[in-house]
Amino acid sequence: GESVGLHLPTLSVQEGDNSIINCAYSNSASDYFIWYKQESGKGPQFIIDIRSNMDKRQGQRVTVLLNKTVKHLSLQIAATQPGDSAVYFCAESSFSGGYNKLIFGAGTRLAVHP
């Protein structure tokens, strides 16, 4: 069946270091891949997305890489800050049956230490 999962459930980094959060997916038919950030007790917030025909997309301090050969997605955060501490979810998006179907991974907790 379809699944989106993460390699590491928790990631601890030092403030100022770069962070890399990984995600594996199984459905090659997805149109987009999206990263969300969820702070404790809040709803997930959109970070960045990448279309399935792209390999790399950059935002402010974040870069998403897509490797379709091995069905792998990663989120890179440059100069990680304490405010980056949160749970990060990857999701694959496809348009099916009239709605945007998102399948979420289990999440990775990022802990930033001073």
């Binding site: 999206i34 709803g43 997930p44 917030q45 998006s93 348009f95 709605y99 945007n100």
Partner: protein, 116 residues
């Protein structure tokens, strides 16, 4: 700009009692609407989605139901809560189709339900 509101933020209910969680979206029309549940430390599970008024689709069999009485209002209900219904419930909206983007979902702040 678009905003999404859901309430109540926190709810403690006894087993067997009814439930009503409400969600409204402002600043857009004819959105797709979604209810997700998130167990503690886990990912998001899609419960219901709606592409229009009165149109509800369920993703998983469960003790809950959803209704969309108005274009921008989505309600999650139960007649009798179970212990297993405890969790963090998230309402979300998206634009119809991709609209040139990724079809991203915009989430509310969530409602934490504890069933005792």
């Amino acid at each position: 700009s678009q905003t999404i509101h859901q309430w109540p933020a926190t709810l403690v209910q006894p087993v067997g009692s009814p439930l009503s969680l409400e969600c409204t979206v402002e600043g857009t029309s004819n959105p797709n609407l979604y209810w997700y549940r998130q167990a503690a430390g886990r990912g998001l599970q899609l419960l219901f989605y709606s592409v229009g008024i009165g149109q509800i689709s369920s993703e998983v069999p469960q003790n809950l139901s959803a209704s969309r009485p108005q274009d921008r209002q989505f309600i999650l209900s139960s007649k009798k809560l179970l212990l297993s219904d405890s969790g963090f419930y998230l309402c979300a909206w998206s634009r119809q189709g991709y609209g040139g983007g990724s079809g991203e979902l915009f989430f509310g702040e969530g409602s934490r339900l504890t069933v005792l």
